[in-house]
Amino acid sequence: MFIIALTATLLAFVQNTVMFRLGMKELAIFAFPLSFVGIFLAQLVLIWAGYFCVRRFLRHRRALVPAGWTMVVLGAAEPMLPASYFTTLVQHAKRTHVLEQIEQADSSIEALASDQGRLRICWHVEQIDGDPCLLLSWIEERTVGVAVKRDRRGYGRELIERALPYSLNAETRYELDDAGLRCTIALPLAREGPKERGA
Protein backbone atom coordinates (compact mmCIF):
# COMPACT_ATOMS: atom_id res chain seq x y z
CA MET A 1 0.00 0.00 0.00
CA PHE A 2 2.81 2.34 0.96
CA ILE A 3 4.61 1.65 -2.34
CA ILE A 4 1.42 2.32 -4.33
CA ALA A 5 0.82 5.58 -2.46
CA LEU A 6 4.45 6.63 -2.93
CA THR A 7 4.34 5.78 -6.65
CA ALA A 8 1.06 7.68 -7.09
CA THR A 9 2.49 10.67 -5.28
CA LEU A 10 5.62 10.65 -7.41
CA LEU A 11 3.61 10.30 -10.60
CA ALA A 12 1.33 13.14 -9.53
CA PHE A 13 4.37 15.27 -8.73
CA VAL A 14 5.96 14.56 -12.11
CA GLN A 15 2.68 15.19 -13.92
CA ASN A 16 2.12 18.45 -12.06
CA THR A 17 5.67 19.57 -12.74
CA VAL A 18 5.41 18.81 -16.44
CA MET A 19 1.99 20.47 -16.73
CA PHE A 20 3.18 23.45 -14.76
CA ARG A 21 6.16 23.90 -17.03
CA LEU A 22 4.00 23.53 -20.10
CA GLY A 23 1.55 25.97 -18.63
CA MET A 24 4.20 28.48 -17.84
CA LYS A 25 5.53 28.16 -21.37
CA GLU A 26 2.10 29.13 -22.64
CA LEU A 27 1.84 31.92 -20.14
CA ALA A 28 5.32 33.22 -20.76
CA ILE A 29 4.15 34.89 -23.95
CA PHE A 30 2.25 37.39 -21.87
CA ALA A 31 5.38 39.04 -20.45
CA PHE A 32 2.99 39.89 -17.66
CA PRO A 33 2.64 43.50 -16.63
CA LEU A 34 0.41 42.98 -13.60
CA SER A 35 -1.53 46.09 -14.40
CA PHE A 36 -2.98 44.36 -17.43
CA VAL A 37 -5.74 42.90 -15.37
CA GLY A 38 -7.56 41.09 -18.10
CA ILE A 39 -4.52 39.14 -19.04
CA PHE A 40 -3.93 38.22 -15.42
CA LEU A 41 -7.49 37.01 -15.10
CA ALA A 42 -7.10 35.02 -18.24
CA GLN A 43 -3.95 33.55 -16.79
CA LEU A 44 -5.80 32.61 -13.65
CA VAL A 45 -8.37 30.77 -15.69
CA LEU A 46 -5.59 29.17 -17.68
CA ILE A 47 -4.04 28.03 -14.45
CA TRP A 48 -7.28 26.42 -13.40
CA ALA A 49 -7.66 24.95 -16.82
CA GLY A 50 -4.31 23.29 -16.46
CA TYR A 51 -5.29 22.00 -12.99
CA PHE A 52 -2.82 24.22 -11.17
CA CYS A 53 -3.17 25.84 -7.81
CA VAL A 54 -3.98 29.51 -7.97
CA ARG A 55 -2.14 30.19 -4.77
CA ARG A 56 1.01 28.65 -6.17
CA PHE A 57 0.64 30.81 -9.25
CA LEU A 58 0.10 33.95 -7.23
CA ARG A 59 3.10 33.19 -5.02
CA HIS A 60 5.22 33.27 -8.15
CA ARG A 61 3.67 36.54 -9.23
CA ARG A 62 3.38 38.31 -5.89
CA ALA A 63 6.74 39.97 -6.32
CA LEU A 64 5.36 41.86 -9.29
CA VAL A 65 2.73 43.66 -7.23
CA PRO A 66 3.98 47.15 -6.26
CA ALA A 67 5.32 47.34 -2.70
CA GLY A 68 2.61 49.74 -1.56
CA TRP A 69 -0.17 47.34 -2.48
CA THR A 70 -1.73 44.79 -0.20
CA MET A 71 -2.74 41.59 -1.92
CA VAL A 72 -5.52 39.43 -0.51
CA VAL A 73 -6.38 36.11 -2.10
CA LEU A 74 -9.41 34.15 -0.98
CA GLY A 75 -10.39 30.87 -2.56
CA ALA A 76 -10.56 27.47 -0.97
CA ALA A 77 -11.39 25.20 -3.84
CA GLU A 78 -9.28 24.62 -6.90
CA PRO A 79 -11.90 24.38 -9.58
CA MET A 80 -11.33 21.99 -12.43
CA LEU A 81 -12.21 23.21 -15.87
CA PRO A 82 -12.90 21.05 -18.91
CA ALA A 83 -9.96 20.80 -21.30
CA SER A 84 -11.87 22.72 -23.97
CA TYR A 85 -11.68 25.86 -21.81
CA PHE A 86 -7.94 25.57 -21.82
CA THR A 87 -7.87 25.20 -25.59
CA THR A 88 -10.10 28.21 -26.13
CA LEU A 89 -8.12 30.47 -23.86
CA VAL A 90 -4.75 29.39 -25.17
CA GLN A 91 -5.99 30.07 -28.68
CA HIS A 92 -6.76 33.61 -27.59
CA ALA A 93 -3.44 33.95 -25.87
CA LYS A 94 -1.45 32.91 -28.90
CA ARG A 95 -2.80 35.60 -31.14
CA THR A 96 -0.07 37.89 -32.30
CA HIS A 97 -1.87 41.10 -31.55
CA VAL A 98 -2.06 40.14 -27.89
CA LEU A 99 1.67 40.60 -27.77
CA GLU A 100 1.36 43.91 -29.56
CA GLN A 101 -1.23 45.07 -27.04
CA ILE A 102 1.03 44.15 -24.15
CA GLU A 103 4.02 45.86 -25.66
CA GLN A 104 1.98 49.03 -25.89
CA ALA A 105 0.58 48.65 -22.40
CA ASP A 106 3.55 49.26 -20.05
CA SER A 107 2.82 51.77 -17.31
CA SER A 108 0.18 53.71 -19.20
CA ILE A 109 -2.53 51.22 -18.27
CA GLU A 110 -4.56 52.68 -15.43
CA ALA A 111 -5.20 49.61 -13.31
CA LEU A 112 -2.76 49.43 -10.40
CA ALA A 113 -1.45 52.80 -11.57
CA SER A 114 -1.25 54.37 -8.11
CA ASP A 115 1.53 53.73 -5.58
CA GLN A 116 -0.68 52.21 -2.90
CA GLY A 117 -3.85 50.22 -2.71
CA ARG A 118 -5.39 46.86 -2.06
CA LEU A 119 -5.94 44.06 -4.50
CA ARG A 120 -8.47 41.37 -3.58
CA ILE A 121 -8.89 38.26 -5.65
CA CYS A 122 -11.67 35.91 -4.55
CA TRP A 123 -13.19 32.86 -6.12
CA HIS A 124 -15.50 30.04 -5.27
CA VAL A 125 -17.64 27.50 -7.02
CA GLU A 126 -21.39 27.79 -6.64
CA GLN A 127 -24.31 25.77 -7.97
CA ILE A 128 -26.43 27.96 -10.22
CA ASP A 129 -29.57 26.35 -11.62
CA GLY A 130 -28.09 22.99 -10.65
CA ASP A 131 -24.83 23.46 -12.56
CA PRO A 132 -21.45 24.36 -11.06
CA CYS A 133 -20.28 27.88 -11.81
CA LEU A 134 -16.92 29.49 -11.02
CA LEU A 135 -17.42 32.95 -9.54
CA LEU A 136 -14.29 35.08 -9.61
CA SER A 137 -13.90 38.65 -8.46
CA TRP A 138 -10.93 40.95 -8.86
CA ILE A 139 -11.14 44.20 -6.91
CA GLU A 140 -8.48 46.90 -6.90
CA GLU A 141 -8.94 49.74 -4.43
CA ARG A 142 -6.52 52.61 -4.69
CA THR A 143 -5.50 54.52 -1.58
CA VAL A 144 -5.32 57.69 -3.65
CA GLY A 145 -7.59 58.13 -6.62
CA VAL A 146 -6.06 58.33 -10.06
CA ALA A 147 -7.83 59.89 -13.02
CA VAL A 148 -8.52 57.18 -15.57
CA LYS A 149 -10.11 56.88 -18.96
CA ARG A 150 -13.11 54.77 -18.02
CA ASP A 151 -13.89 53.73 -21.53
CA ARG A 152 -10.36 52.67 -22.31
CA ARG A 153 -10.37 49.41 -24.22
CA GLY A 154 -7.61 46.89 -24.62
CA TYR A 155 -7.20 43.22 -25.24
CA GLY A 156 -7.62 42.29 -21.58
CA ARG A 157 -10.91 44.10 -21.34
CA GLU A 158 -12.10 42.69 -24.65
CA LEU A 159 -11.23 39.21 -23.46
CA ILE A 160 -13.33 39.70 -20.33
CA GLU A 161 -16.27 41.56 -21.80
CA ARG A 162 -16.54 39.90 -25.20
CA ALA A 163 -14.47 36.77 -25.69
CA LEU A 164 -15.36 34.96 -22.45
CA PRO A 165 -19.14 35.43 -22.94
CA TYR A 166 -18.86 34.50 -26.63
CA SER A 167 -16.67 31.43 -26.36
CA LEU A 168 -17.35 30.16 -22.84
CA ASN A 169 -20.83 31.46 -22.06
CA ALA A 170 -19.46 33.49 -19.14
CA GLU A 171 -21.16 36.48 -17.55
CA THR A 172 -18.77 39.30 -16.78
CA ARG A 173 -18.72 42.78 -15.29
CA TYR A 174 -15.88 45.28 -15.62
CA GLU A 175 -16.03 48.66 -13.88
CA LEU A 176 -13.03 50.97 -13.95
CA ASP A 177 -13.07 54.37 -12.24
CA ASP A 178 -10.73 56.72 -10.39
CA ALA A 179 -10.93 54.68 -7.18
CA GLY A 180 -10.02 51.37 -8.78
CA LEU A 181 -11.32 48.42 -10.68
CA ARG A 182 -14.08 45.92 -9.95
CA CYS A 183 -14.29 42.93 -12.19
CA THR A 184 -16.39 39.81 -11.78
CA ILE A 185 -16.59 36.70 -13.92
CA ALA A 186 -19.20 33.94 -13.65
CA LEU A 187 -17.99 30.98 -15.66
CA PRO A 188 -20.22 27.90 -16.07
CA LEU A 189 -18.10 24.82 -15.46
CA ALA A 190 -20.45 22.31 -17.07
CA ARG A 191 -20.48 22.98 -20.77
CA GLU A 192 -23.80 22.19 -22.35
CA GLY A 193 -23.92 19.56 -25.04
CA PRO A 194 -25.88 20.01 -28.25
CA LYS A 195 -29.53 20.58 -27.47
CA GLU A 196 -32.38 18.90 -29.24
CA ARG A 197 -34.01 21.36 -31.55
CA GLY A 198 -37.49 22.24 -30.42
CA ALA A 199 -36.98 20.48 -27.10
Binding site: T88, Q91, H92, R162, A163, S167, R191, G193, P194, K195
Partner: protein, 118 residues
Protein backbone atom coordinates in the same frame (compact mmCIF):
# COMPACT_ATOMS: atom_id res chain seq x y z
CA UNK B 1 -12.27 47.98 -49.86
CA UNK B 2 -15.72 46.91 -51.03
CA UNK B 3 -15.96 43.81 -53.15
CA UNK B 4 -18.70 43.78 -55.79
CA UNK B 5 -19.13 40.07 -55.24
CA UNK B 6 -19.88 40.44 -51.51
CA UNK B 7 -21.53 43.88 -51.34
CA UNK B 8 -24.97 43.64 -49.81
CA UNK B 9 -24.74 39.86 -49.31
CA UNK B 10 -25.91 38.41 -46.01
CA UNK B 11 -23.22 36.01 -44.83
CA UNK B 12 -23.55 33.83 -41.73
CA UNK B 13 -20.29 33.34 -39.81
CA UNK B 14 -20.11 30.26 -37.59
CA UNK B 15 -16.91 30.19 -35.55
CA UNK B 16 -16.30 29.39 -31.89
CA UNK B 17 -13.07 31.37 -31.50
CA UNK B 18 -14.01 34.95 -30.72
CA UNK B 19 -10.98 36.58 -32.30
CA UNK B 20 -11.12 34.50 -35.47
CA UNK B 21 -14.85 35.25 -35.74
CA UNK B 22 -14.14 38.96 -35.39
CA UNK B 23 -11.41 38.79 -38.05
CA UNK B 24 -13.73 37.11 -40.53
CA UNK B 25 -16.60 39.47 -39.72
CA UNK B 26 -14.39 42.53 -40.17
CA UNK B 27 -13.09 41.25 -43.52
CA UNK B 28 -16.65 40.67 -44.71
CA UNK B 29 -17.88 44.06 -43.52
CA UNK B 30 -14.99 45.83 -45.19
CA UNK B 31 -16.03 44.08 -48.40
CA UNK B 32 -19.56 45.45 -47.99
CA UNK B 33 -21.26 42.26 -46.80
CA UNK B 34 -23.81 42.12 -44.00
CA UNK B 35 -22.54 39.74 -41.32
CA UNK B 36 -25.09 37.47 -39.66
CA UNK B 37 -23.83 36.25 -36.29
CA UNK B 38 -21.09 35.41 -35.63
CA UNK B 39 -22.48 32.27 -34.00
CA UNK B 40 -20.23 30.31 -31.64
CA UNK B 41 -22.25 27.07 -31.57
CA UNK B 42 -24.60 24.91 -33.62
CA UNK B 43 -27.73 26.02 -31.83
CA UNK B 44 -26.99 29.73 -32.28
CA UNK B 45 -26.18 29.14 -35.94
CA UNK B 46 -29.42 27.27 -36.56
CA UNK B 47 -31.36 30.05 -34.81
CA UNK B 48 -29.71 32.66 -37.05
CA UNK B 49 -30.41 30.54 -40.08
CA UNK B 50 -34.11 30.33 -39.24
CA UNK B 51 -34.44 34.06 -38.69
CA UNK B 52 -32.64 35.35 -41.78
CA UNK B 53 -32.58 34.70 -45.50
CA UNK B 54 -28.90 34.09 -46.20
CA UNK B 55 -26.80 34.50 -49.30
CA UNK B 56 -23.93 32.41 -47.97
CA UNK B 57 -22.20 31.04 -44.90
CA UNK B 58 -18.73 30.31 -43.53
CA UNK B 59 -18.53 27.39 -41.14
CA UNK B 60 -15.80 26.35 -38.77
CA UNK B 61 -16.14 22.57 -38.45
CA UNK B 62 -15.25 22.08 -34.79
CA UNK B 63 -17.26 24.38 -32.54
CA UNK B 64 -15.78 23.76 -29.10
CA UNK B 65 -15.99 19.99 -29.58
CA UNK B 66 -19.34 20.12 -31.35
CA UNK B 67 -19.28 19.43 -35.10
CA UNK B 68 -20.97 21.99 -37.35
CA UNK B 69 -22.46 19.42 -39.74
CA UNK B 70 -26.11 19.97 -38.65
CA UNK B 71 -25.68 23.59 -39.76
CA UNK B 72 -24.20 22.42 -43.07
CA UNK B 73 -27.18 20.09 -43.56
CA UNK B 74 -29.63 22.93 -42.89
CA UNK B 75 -27.79 25.22 -45.32
CA UNK B 76 -27.78 22.53 -48.00
CA UNK B 77 -31.51 21.94 -47.51
CA UNK B 78 -32.10 25.65 -48.13
CA UNK B 79 -29.75 25.83 -51.09
CA UNK B 80 -27.49 28.37 -49.36
CA UNK B 81 -23.87 28.23 -50.59
CA UNK B 82 -21.31 27.76 -47.84
CA UNK B 83 -17.66 26.97 -47.25
CA UNK B 84 -15.78 25.29 -44.45
CA UNK B 85 -13.13 27.44 -42.76
CA UNK B 86 -10.96 24.81 -41.20
CA UNK B 87 -7.61 23.12 -40.94
CA UNK B 88 -9.29 19.70 -41.04
CA UNK B 89 -8.51 17.54 -44.02
CA UNK B 90 -11.04 15.87 -46.27
CA UNK B 91 -11.16 12.56 -44.37
CA UNK B 92 -12.94 14.20 -41.43
CA UNK B 93 -15.70 15.65 -43.58
CA UNK B 94 -18.72 13.43 -44.35
CA UNK B 95 -19.04 12.27 -47.94
CA UNK B 96 -22.17 14.37 -48.51
CA UNK B 97 -20.04 17.51 -48.09
CA UNK B 98 -17.11 16.52 -50.32
CA UNK B 99 -18.14 19.11 -52.93
CA UNK B 100 -18.02 21.92 -50.34
CA UNK B 101 -14.90 24.08 -50.59
CA UNK B 102 -12.52 24.26 -47.66
CA UNK B 103 -10.44 27.33 -46.82
CA UNK B 104 -7.63 27.73 -44.33
CA UNK B 105 -7.96 30.53 -41.78
CA UNK B 106 -7.31 33.42 -41.89
CA UNK B 107 -9.21 34.19 -45.08
CA UNK B 108 -9.24 37.34 -47.18
CA UNK B 109 -12.59 38.63 -48.42
CA UNK B 110 -11.60 37.92 -52.04
CA UNK B 111 -10.91 34.32 -51.10
CA UNK B 112 -14.27 34.04 -49.36
CA UNK B 113 -16.06 35.60 -52.32
CA UNK B 114 -14.37 33.32 -54.84
CA UNK B 115 -15.11 30.22 -52.74
CA UNK B 116 -18.76 31.13 -52.17
CA UNK B 117 -19.79 32.71 -55.43
CA UNK B 118 -16.92 32.06 -57.85
Amino acid sequence: MKSPGLAGKRILVVEDDYLVAMDIARALERAGAEVIGPAPAVEAALDALEQTVLDGAILDINLGGEMAFPVADALMARGVPFIFATGYDAQVIPVRFTHVKRCEKPMASEQICAALFG
